[in-house]
């Protein structure tokens, strides 16, 4: 028994709703309640915490979280030369940290176990423009291939004693590498387009019939965002 809708359409919509409900939270109480709720979700589902993603976030967040306490007026907390951190500012920073952490954790749980190929089909079923869905699926299809090409090319450079550094030779080499990858991709794109034409592609494929979302998934899609909506209402009230 899982809380997540198995149907990706339902899961995407419910997930987006949760993230939208977290976004406007302003006060510390609701923000931490949101974070606690996500933590409960992790505990119930026995997800492992994505530590690396959380750490990866720091660089950007650190700047925000360090500067915010100093940029809000209020009760003095700490004085560093001309800079003064306020208690209000600290609460604000903690609120933001809670919201961002809750969102990141939620996002990675949302997509855990969802193959991008299936995500494409879900986007199509949600009536996103067909060309956009096909670009997404094309990217998913060829990304691994192109990353492998790129990795081998970089290894070939390394085998010829290339050592990237802060100099023009390195940057020029990267420019050539990427330029060459772009050329190879363009040539492949032409061949792919030809292969489609040879199989009689004439510009349009019928949209696949969409299955109905199972009832249980509909219920989950409502149940999942509901507590977050309550938190939002509490925050607004």
């Amino acid at each position: 028994m899982t809380l997540w809708p198995g149907d990706l359409r339902a899961r995407l919509l419910a997930g987006a709703a949760v993230l939208v409900f977290i976004a406007p939270l302003d006060a510390p109480g609701p923000a931490f309640a949101g974070l606690a709720l996500v933590a409960v979700l992790y505990a119930l589902e026995r997800h492992a915490l994505p530590w690396r993603r959380l750490l990866h976030l720091e660089a950007f967040l650190l700047i925000v979280l360090v500067t915010v306490p100093f940029s809000m007026p209020g009760t003095a907390l700490l004085t560093l030369g001309p800079l003064q951190a306020s208690v209000e500012g600290l609460w604000r920073a903690l609120t933001l940290a809670a919201k961002v952490t809750a969102s990141v954790l939620f996002l990675s749980a949302l997509f855990a176990g969802a193959a991008p190929e299936h995500l494409g089909a879900a986007l199509r079923a949600l009536h996103l423009p067909e060309p956009l869905v096909r670009i997404f699926l094309g990217l998913v299809r060829y990304l691994a291939l192109i990353r492998a090409e790129m990795a081998r090319a970089q290894e070939a450079m390394r085998a010829r004693s290339f050592r990237p550094g802060t100099n023009l030779h390195s940057w020029r080499s990267y420019g050539w590498l990427i330029g060459r990858m772009l050329l190879r991709a363009l040539q492949r794109a032409d061949r792919v387009e030809e292969a489609m034409r040879l199989r009689h592609y004439a510009g349009r494929l019928p949209r696949p019939a969409t299955r109905a979302v199972p009832r249980a998934d509909k219920l989950r899609a409502i149940a999942l965002p509901a507590p977050f909506l309550l938190i939002l209402l509490w925050g607004l009230g």
Binding site: A115, E117, G120, A121, L137, G138, V140, R141, Y142, A144, L145, R188, R191, V192, E194, A195, M196, R197, L198, R199, H200, Y201, A202, L205, P206, P208, A209
Partner: protein, 239 residues
């Protein structure tokens, strides 16, 4: 009987350079024509010209009795021709195997269910039903090759053009491929470097060399010659 494919005095250029000149061939019902030749001789270009991906500088392409010059002419003929590309990744562009195999039938206007059913039937016929829901980019080289072939067979072609079908294929999938091609009832043109494969499958051969396409003979004759060998002796440990 009209030939399925006729090339008459074809000249092909690439980047201004003549790749091939005065090439003529005709492919009749049930024939299996092998085209062999060194790398860069223009074998791929020749196949591309047959389906109209490459337009000849001179000469004529006649498909199923109809001379083809414009894209519209070729489009009609392409329904009946399946072209296996040299690189499988160029040809497998759908996310899952079943979607890829059903792509052709869908384009021919059969409904979604019918297309899937056709695709599944073809996959089963090739012994690949277990791959149906797999993602195309996660297949092995040999599996990719066979799924590409399935995508062509799903359109029920009368002619197959095969550009190095045994490329990057392992022994097990190679056997499946041979069986599938041996069972194919239509005509085919087969480009391959693999002499054994060619002589097993082809009914006739031509050689493309230095821009000239010429008939050739396939024969298997016992003969006496010196041939370098590499033998692994019975196991006896490291180097």
């Amino acid at each position: 009987m009209i030939p399925l494919v006729t090339l008459t005095d074809l000249t092909l250029r690439r980047d201004g350079q003549v790749v091939m000149s005065g090439a003529s061939l005709s492919l009749k019902l049930g024939e299996r024509l092998a085209i062999v030749g060194p790398n860069g001789a223009g074998k791929t270009s020749l196949l591309r010209a047959i389906v109209g991906l490459e337009r000849p500088a001179a000469g004529r392409v006649t498909l199923f009795g109809q001379e083809c010059t414009r894209e519209a002419d070729f489009r009609v003929a392409r329904r009946r021709i399946g072209f296996l590309f040299q690189d499988s990744d160029d040809q497998l562009f759908c996310p899952s195997v079943i979607e890829d195999v059903a792509f052709g039938p869908l384009n021919l206007g059969v409904g979604e269910d019918a297309a899937r059913a056709t695709a599944l039937a073809v996959l089963e016929g090739l012994g690949l039903a277990h791959l149906a829901e797999r993602f195309t980019h996660k297949l092995s080289g040999g599996e990719k090759r066979l799924v590409c072939l399935a995508g062509l067979l799903a359109m029920r072609p009368d002619v197959l053009l095969l550009d190095e079908p045994t490329n990057g294929i392992d022994a097990e999938n190679g056997a499946r491929l041979r069986a599938a091609l041996a069972a194919f009832e239509g005509a085919m043109i087969l480009v391959s470097h693999d002499d054994g494969f060619v002589s097993e499958l082809a009914s006739r051969a031509m050689v493309l060399r230095a821009g000239v396409l010429r008939p050739a003979e396939i024969h298997s004759h016992p003969h006496f010659h010196a041939h370098p060998h590499i033998h692994a002796p019975e196991p006896r440990g490291g180097a």
